[in-house]
């Protein structure tokens, strides 16, 4: 990066480090094993995920999601260990998501982590979910000091690193962008398999007409709940054609559910790109990193790419393996802080639904 080229505080090692990461803050249960090599590179040995999928029109409730995680925990972890072909005894630490997320699912996974830690006598490391996303994104893309747009079902934040802290420059004032898209998918009865957001993206490809929706950015913040309400209200409009029914000659002024998906995506993504551009101009950065489940949306990546290009910059994005919640990102962030000497004693191995990105001391960066 220009100007600052401090030494990394991470000491080089004489042996590889291994970590198991467990993630279950929402409806995805993930386990992954990462190895930090002596030369400073890292290898993903395994990355297993199982998603709790609800019927169309329904969201996931915390209690049922926790049950899902409990039922699948052993299978998912076993698979992760088998694929990686390392033994549990070789691990340096076990990392779990401390927060933010849904209480019940978080607790189920934390319990599994504690049990494993006692069984195999391995130290625990509690990880902030958002920092996990950022660190994995940096690792995979090689972006050095990007402005991070973290967009998922529960979070929408614009983050930049400064003095051992991931500072939040802008965020949603109400609901997250993934929540906005998912809830609209439920309104129009799209399937939750593989994810409602993915199905919105596919439907949007068929949409042609841009229906006017509210557009609300405030400085570097956005507000999304009003847009969801407005889009929902349009499904009761008399011009709305739910089943993409053929338009005859006198059916000019109508719109389909695909048009609504298209309009919703275009509007909210334009808002996100706008505030990201603002943050880039403010900070003077030319790199953007897209993380979080919504970050795997190709249309968002495309729009962000156009904006970055216009500014002479570059966008970094990953695919669904690393964008959508996974265990490996928890392992990555956890192992980084473990190598800086951080551990979570079993008595302190709690989880919390509220855990802001800027509360974490990023010891491993200069």
């Amino acid at each position: 990066m220009p100007k600052r080229t401090h030494e990394s505080p991470l000491k080089s090692t004489d042996r590889p480090y291994l970590a198991l990461g467990l993630e279950g803050s929402a409806n995805k249960l993930g386990a992954g094993i990462i190895r930090h090599e002596v030369d400073g590179s890292s290898t993903v040995l395994s990355n297993v995920r199982h998603t709790y999928i609800t019927p169309p029109g329904e969201g996931f409730l915390p209690r049922d999601t926790a049950v899902h995680h409990r039922q699948w925990a052993l299978k998912v972890i076993e698979d992760a260990v088998t694929i990686s072909s390392v033994s549990m005894h070789d691990l340096d630490c076990i990392c779990y998501t401390k927060g933010p997320g849904m209480g019940a699912p978080l607790q189920s996974v934390a319990l599994v982590a504690r049990t494993l830690s006692l069984l195999f006598n391995k130290p625990l490391v509690g990880v902030n979910h958002c920092v996990g996303h950022i660190e994995m994104g940096r690792e995979i893309t090689g972006a050095q000091n990007p402005v991070v747009l973290y967009v998922s079902g529960g979070n929408t934040q614009i983050i930049a690193y400064s003095r051992q802290c991931y500072r939040i420059f802008g965020e949603t004032l109400d609901i997250a962008v993934g929540n906005c898209l998912d809830r609209f998918a439920r309104v129009i009865n799209l399937s939750n398999d593989p994810s409602p957001g993915f199905n919105i993206e596919q439907a949007a490809k068929k949409g042609k007409r841009l229906v006017p929706l509210p557009y609300s950015t405030k400085g570097m913040d956005v507000s999304l709940s009003g847009i969801l309400t407005a889009t929902e209200a349009l499904t009761y409009d008399k011009r709305y054609r739910p089943n993409d029914s053929p338009r005859n000659g006198d059916d000019e002024d109508c719109f389909t559910s695909a048009d609504l998906c298209f309009s919703l995506q275009e509007t909210v993504f334009a808002m996100l790109v706008e505030i990201t551009e603002r943050a880039m101009a403010h900070i003077g950065s030319k790199e953007v990193l897209l993380v979080g489940g919504v970050g795997s949306n190709v249309r968002l990546q495309e729009m962000m790419g156009t904006m970055a290009e216009e500014r002479g910059g570059k966008v970094f994005a990953t695919d669904e393996r690393f964008c959508i919640d996974n265990g490996i990102m928890i392992a990555q962030a956890g192992l980084l802080s473990y190598r800086m000497g951080f551990q979570t004693p079993i008595k302190m191995s709690t989880c919390t639904q509220r855990y802001r990105t800027d509360e974490v001391h990023v010891a491993w960066r200069a």
Binding site: L210, Y215, G219, A270, E274, R278, A281
Partner: protein, 250 residues
């Protein structure tokens, strides 16, 4: 079509202008409507390729008009802002009065001028390095002017939305056409402005300014205190509620 004709002539105008700076949203040019006439400033909200064209033009139109309206409202209420020279909403261009002078940020000599070298207050950097002495005004008087001007704006129920020391200018005494050599403080960049009667919004406006002072000017507490003093005096009885809200916010 009138719209096309308008854009064609504005394109010609843009081509004859000099680019001064580029922010996140707009490019800023120095231009003049007739050769040899007084200079004006053009703020061009250029088309964003990432946005759907329909959405882009709707947004650009409403923002250009919004900024022009906020400026006109300020002018009607006697707040010192640049005069509006022309509005071409179809091409996203706003022409406003050229202010010959310096931003307050520059005049206060923020410690880290190099840091924000590209944020637009670096025009004509090489010659005549102005200072406060050049403007025949003390820091205290300057802060007084800032507080009074913001109060006038808030009394007119206009919220600036992005109050920083980079968004205020002191016009150079020699640039004023009347013979009285008075310096004038001008508020600029109303891109995020809106109207509101809420105490909350006015308090937030002041809070944003306080944060801007703290982050750009070292040891700014006494400076901001004198801004608030002047603000208080001008606001009169309206101050009580805003002051309380400002304290609550911290």
């Amino acid at each position: 079509m009138a719209v096309v004709a308008a854009s064609a002539s504005t394109t010609a105008l843009l081509n004859s202008s000099t680019l001064i700076s580029q922010g996140a949203e707009a490019k800023v040019y120095r231009s003049s409507l007739h050769t040899g006439s007084v200079p004006i400033l053009l703020k061009h909200r250029f088309a964003k390729q990432y946005r759907h064209p329909t959405l882009d033009s709707t947004l650009t139109r409403s923002r250009v008009v919004g900024e022009a309206r906020a400026l006109l409202r300020c002018l009607r209420c006697g707040v010192s802002v640049p005069g509006v020279r022309f509005v071409d909403q179809a091409s996203g261009i706003l022409g406003i009065e050229w202010i010959e002078g310096r931003t307050i940020r520059f005049l206060l000599g923020s410690g880290d001028e190099g840091d924000g070298a590209h944020d637009g207050d670096s025009e004509e950097d090489d010659h005549d390095v102005d200072s406060l002495a050049d403007y025949e005004v003390s820091k205290d008087e300057l802060m007084n002017m800032v507080g009074t001007e913001i109060a006038k704006m808030h009394l007119a129920d206009i919220i600036h939305g992005d109050l920083t020391t980079s968004n205020m200018m002191l016009s150079h005494p020699s640039s004023l056409n009347h013979s009285l050599r008075i310096q004038k403080l001008v508020l600029i960049d109303f891109g995020l402005a809106y109207t509101s009667i809420l105490v909350e919004d006015k308090a937030v406006d002041l809070y944003v300014l306080e944060r801007a002072f703290a982050s750009t000017h070292p040891a700014s507490e006494p400076l901001f205190a004198s801004v608030l003093d002047a603000y208080k005096r001008k606001m009169g009885k309206d101050w009580t509620a805003i002051g309380r809200r400002l304290e609550d916010g911290k």
